[in-house]
């Protein structure tokens, strides 16, 4: 597979979509949708073909700035391929979910979506630290525009907050990257940003701890974890539907991906020592995120806080430092991508119909739109962690793995399951059940366009739920690298 070509495809499609606006208003939508579908099908084919002998699906390297040892190294292993597949699929979902929502400057809107996604694909495939940082920034700016231009009433505040949090934490990562390269240069006399080479760097434990923190803070801000989570509810709530779908479905996963790919591999000892903080923050995120979710009266904000709780499970899983926990974290990433994308799409659909996200102005909507009610119920129970659906597999494996590491923290994390039921069902009650709100005499139900997307996501969750082996098998290869299995 040629990742560079894939990234190029998305970037070019962005430019095409932008300029196609002048021919027809909805042409940019089609351009974006078709390119995401092509990309998705392409990745499915790559997946079906299986990896090469080295276990990778793609491995490309070109010189970029040789003087500083910077190269365009793009590599795709199982974990990356799966996340790239999720990216392109949710790209299509995002486009469909905003099909009628955006009325102004559609071309530029789709341009931003395509460029964010190109950045994300780059993040998931870059094996050069400089290149990684480059893509990390590439996905930030279009996302900022998406919120700042097409967002809702408080978009300026939310987009700025999102930008500052990501930028400042990104800066810490940049410092850590440069310092790591410097240390490597100090020992070996070679300047290089190459992942494989830097993996071999022998670090002082105190230096390693410091550099690890730089990466760690950047990634848990993106994840996000308490206490650096507060940008997320604002950004999510204010972003247009496509923006929220991308943010929750994909961008949060770049944080989790970074933890797995960089933090615990580049600094294994320092991370192992750090486990109690990592897992502790995860547990706090689970409980605090769930509790905050229950407090909200805004449909979208509630879902946003629930994301924090779910990402807490990822953190707990990663810092369990065993196969079960890390596999569980990866399954959670995929399943959460599906379930939360759907819930944000639902929030967008409700806002488009009712012009509000406030649940006190909803109530009894099931009577008006039974399909939307049933679909919401499905995704709510998925995110509550119902066995048979993907989220359960992830959370179960995470907790099973964490239990081997620390019983107390696992018990606390398991309480999150109860809290999830409390906020999930309360969401359902306040929006779709209860006395039908007389102010909403009728509401258009989902039609073919929306249902088709929802069905795809549902099938995805059931698939991961009853046969997670496809996901688990993809990531087997990365585990020896993480030092959790010999």
């Amino acid at each position: 597979m040629n990742v560079a070509l894939l990234i190029g495809l998305l970037l070019t499609a962005g430019l095409v979509a932008w300029s196609s606006e002048r021919f027809h208003k909805s042409l940019p939508n089609w351009v974006a949708l078709v390119s995401f579908l092509i990309a998705t099908i392409w990745i499915v084919f790559v997946w079906l073909n299986g990896p090469s002998e080295g276990g990778t699906y793609a491995d490309q390297s070109y010189e970029w700035i040789p003087r500083f040892g910077i190269s365009l190294t793009l590599r795709v292993d199982g974990l990356s391929l799966m996340l790239i597949g999720l990216t392109t699929l949710l790209g299509a979902v995002a486009v469909v979910s905003s099909w009628t929502e955006t009325q102004t400057r559609q071309g530029f809107f789709q341009f931003n979506i395509l460029w964010v996604m190109a950045g994300v694909v780059g993040v998931f495939s870059a094996f050069d630290l400089f290149l990684f940082f480059f893509f990390w920034e590439v996905m930030l700016i279009p996302m900022y525009f998406l919120i700042a231009i097409w967002g809702h009433e408080d978009k300026a505040y939310a987009s700025m907050k999102f930008f500052l949090f990501t930028q400042i934490s990104g800066l810490l990562m940049l410092v850590a990257i440069v310092a790591l390269v410097w240390v490597h240069y100090d020992i070996h006399g070679i300047i290089t940003f190459d992942y494989d080479t830097l993996l071999e760097t022998e670090l002082d434990s105190s230096v390693a701890r410091l550099l690890m923190l730089g990466f760690f803070i950047a990634f848990i801000t993106k994840l996000p974890s308490v206490p650096v989570h507060t940008w997320l509810p604002d950004a999510h709530t204010q972003a247009p539907t496509a923006g929220s779908v991308i943010l929750a479905g994909i961008l949060l996963k770049t944080g989790a991906y970074g933890l797995i790919r960089f933090v615990i591999t580049l600094f294994p000892e320092a991370s192992q020592e750090f486990w109690v903080y990592g897992m502790g923050l995860g547990v706090i995120s689970i409980l605090y995120g769930g509790y905050m979710a229950y407090s909200q009266s805004d449909f979208k904000r509630l879902v946003a806080y629930s994301s924090i709780a779910h990402m807490g499970f990822v953190l707990v899983g990663v810092y369990s430092f065993n196969e079960l926990g890390i596999q569980g974290a990866i399954v959670t990433m995929i399943a959460h991508g599906f379930s939360t994308a759907a819930l944000f799409m639902m929030a967008g659909a409700l806002q488009e119909r009712l012009h509000t996200r406030e649940m006190s102005k909803m109530g009894g909507l099931w009577v008006r739109a039974p399909r939307m009610g049933a679909v919401t119920m499905f995704f709510v129970i998925a995110s509550v962690g119902m066995p048979g659906l993907g989220n359960f597999i992830g959370e179960f494996l995470v907790l099973l793995g964490a239990f081997q590491k620390n019983v107390l923290l696992t018990v606390l994390a398991a309480l999150g399951i109860v809290v999830a039921a409390v906020y999930g069902l309360s969401l359902m009650q306040r929006s779709f059940q209860g006395t039908p709100n007389p102010d909403v005499p009728e509401m258009k139900d989902f039609a073919f366009r929306e249902m088709s997307v929802m069905v795809v996501l549902m099938v995805g969750l059931v698939w991961v739920g009853i046969y997670p082996q496809h996901v688990l098998g993809m990531t087997d290869a990365i585990l020896p690298l993480l030092g959790v299995v010999p």
Partner: protein, 615 residues
């Protein structure tokens, strides 16, 4: 034939999927055929498989469908396991389940959401079957959560009433507390034994802890936590009475015959773990005893007929837990089965009464119905006789088996026995009260009987089973636990045996005198100040709800209210505030006035000079 095992859960699943995909657009008759028919087909499949199994020599049969997940040493497959215990459960679920579905085709006919109702019901049957057929604890857990979900969906079936929604959420969240204990039990079991396969883990437990251990007890107690939640035992019992908000067939199927007995099944399934730990077994017995005692008093003062039955269910499941705790394993499962017959019968018959009275559930507004509603009356009479364990009914056989085993158990035998027998007396008392208020005395509401064959036929079949079901016990269930359980034939202390038999009859007599005649003036007791206070205390289920509300629910709600805008964010908002203050200060300094600039330049220069001079 036995390889058709997978078909048993597949039929209801298919029914669910068809009803979902057609979105309620099918004609009602077709919906009814799919809804009840799928469970009927499943019952037929169960009969075929069961017959083959009983006539063969094997004691178990397992069928691996596919690998669920493999992570390192952790390996779980989706596979089914059939033994006598599972067979009894499958029989109850598909058999009684089918009858209830059939009844529901009539009961729900005029209701909104006919198709949605049967979709949920079919999904429930599917999940319940997975629960009892699951080969591993994880698959059992899938069924376990699945039935919980369906219970939630069906309690809140009439979702436009917020009260139903509240009851549904309460049921889900309270049982989830127990489920969390259960899943922690699974984690601990996996850590200690290294597998979640039921048979392997039991073998492993016997090998690792031949004499029991703290770990073993901890696992058994955590599993008990799950069982307590699902089976509505003290202290997680508060959801069951509210769950009566669901349509009556739901109460019959989920909250009487099948789901609430899942806890009993779980403990019976994990028997060896409990046999290894006396503490855990004692806990099971005590939980059952406390529940059966508390619930039987609560049932005595309820005015809603379904709530009486709900508390009675709680109390009967208490008997099953009690039986498990005192080592009467077979008797527990036997009582589970007979209870499924007679309690489903009672619920369905009361449903017919409720329907005929236009959804009136208050017994004080009923009365004098026995001539006007003959079929519900006779069904309910039979069901009540079995519930009160009167001789020649199935309930008599199973409850006597429990009580007599209890009397013979070594530790605390007679103490336990006397409490359980006292509760049996109360059972008769509240049953008589219920029958009297509903069917005798003066008529307060005129009934309109609308039931057709699809509604009275299930009542008929269940009536027969409620009486004759006791015979099944001797033929099938004696071999259920092999030689591990206590055998049925007991060398009775004669006095105990006679007392056990007579106490329910005495209860009926006292109840008759108390409620139907004026021999005792019960008003005098219930209207006196202490009588009123006790009555109120019993009526609210001994105040558990109030304690939970003030200790957990309200503080949580309060916390949620005060921190809606996220305290953590103040940290960042404070930072921006500081930045903004400085921004404003500096903006003020740029005022465009030359004098001001000159002044600041001069004072800056002065400041620098002074600093330099001082250094």
């Amino acid at each position: 034939m036995m390889n058709l095992l997978w078909l048993i859960p597949t039929f209801p699943l298919a029914g669910f999927l068809i009803l979902c995909a057609t979105e309620g657009k099918l004609p009602k008759v077709v919906t009814a055929c799919i809804g009840a028919g799928s469970v009927g087909l499943s019952a037929i499949a169960a009969t075929l498989v069961g017959w083959e199994f009983v006539t063969s020599d094997s004691t178990s049969y397992s069928q691996v469908l596919w690998t669920w997940m493999v992570v390192g040493d952790f390996n779980v497959s989706i596979s089914l396991y059939l033994d006598y215990l599972a067979l009894v459960m499958v029989g109850v679920i598909t058999g009684v389940g089918f009858l209830i579905h059939l009844y529901a085709t009539g009961y729900m006919w005029d209701e909104e959401g006919y198709s949605r109702f049967f979709a949920y019901m079919n999904l429930f049957v599917f999940a319940m079957l997975l629960l009892v057929l699951g080969d591993s604890l994880l698959l059992l857990f899938l069924g376990w959560e699945g039935v919980g979900l369906c219970s939630y969906l069906l309690i809140g079936f009439f979702h436009t009433d917020p009260a139903n929604g509240y009851a549904a959420r309460k049921a889900f969240v309270v049982t989830r507390v127990g489920d969390t204990a259960l899943i922690l039990g699974l984690f601990l079991l996996f850590r200690e034994v290294g597998t979640l396969d039921i048979q392997q883990s039991l073998d492993g437990a016997r090998d690792i802890w031949p004499d029991g251990s703290v770990m073993n007890t901890a696992i058994a107690l955590l599993l008990l936590g799950g069982a307590i939640g699902k089976s509505a035992q003290v202290p997680l019992q508060t959801w069951l009475p509210d769950a009566m908000a669901g349509p009556t067939p739901v109460s019959a199927l989920i909250h009487a015959a099948t789901m609430v007995t899942a806890g009993v099944y779980l403990i019976a399934r994990m028997q060896d773990l409990y046999l290894l730990s006396e503490t855990a077994t004692l806990c099971v017995a005590v939980v059952g005893l406390v529940t059966l005692f508390i619930a039987s008093f609560t049932a005595l003062v309820q005015s809603d007929i379904k709530r009486v039955l709900a508390f009675s269910t709680m109390s009967q499941i208490g008997y099953m837990f009690f039986a498990l705790g005192v080592g009467a394993w077979s008797a527990a499962i036997f009582h589970l089965m007979t209870h499924a017959f007679f309690k489903a019968l009672l619920f369905l018959a009361s449903g017919s009464v409720i329907l005929a009275l236009h959804h009136e559930q208050d017994m004080h507004k009923m009365g004098g119905l026995w001539r006007k509603l003959p079929i519900p009356f006779w069904s309910m009479l039979i069901g009540s006789a079995a519930l009160a364990a009167l001789p020649f009914t199935s309930g008599f056989v199973s409850k006597d088996a429990i009580l007599l085993t209890a009397a013979h158990s070594e530790t605390l035998g007679m103490t336990f026995w006397s409490i359980a027998v006292a509760a049996a007396f109360m059972t008769s008392l509240y049953t008589v009260r219920m029958m009297y208020l509903t069917f005798f005395g003066e008529t307060k509401t005129e009934p309109h009987d609308k039931s057709k064959a699809n509604m009275w036929l299930p009542l008929l079949v269940l009536s027969v089973l409620s009486i004759g079901g006791g015979w099944l016990g001797f033929t099938v269930l004696g071999t259920l636990f092999g030689d591990k359980g206590v055998p049925f034939e007991l060398h009775l202390k004669e006095l105990v045996a006679i007392a056990t038999m007579c106490v329910p009859l005495l209860g009926v007599l006292v109840g008759y005198l108390l409620f139907a005649t004026n021999v005792f003036d019960r008003r005098k007791i219930s209207d006196s100040a202490p009588g009123k206070a006790v009555g109120r205390f019993w009526f609210v289920g001994w105040g558990f709800d109030k304690i939970y509300d003030s200790l957990i629910v309200n503080p949580f709600r309060w916390l949620a209210r005060v921190n809606k805008s996220d305290a953590v964010d103040y940290l960042y908002r404070f930072t921006t505030l500081v930045a903004r203050i400085f921004h404003n200060l500096l903006t003020v300094s740029q005022n465009g006035r030359l004098r001001w600039y000159a002044l600041t330049m001069f004072s800056g220069l002065l400041f620098v000079l002074i600093v330099v001079a001082l250094i």
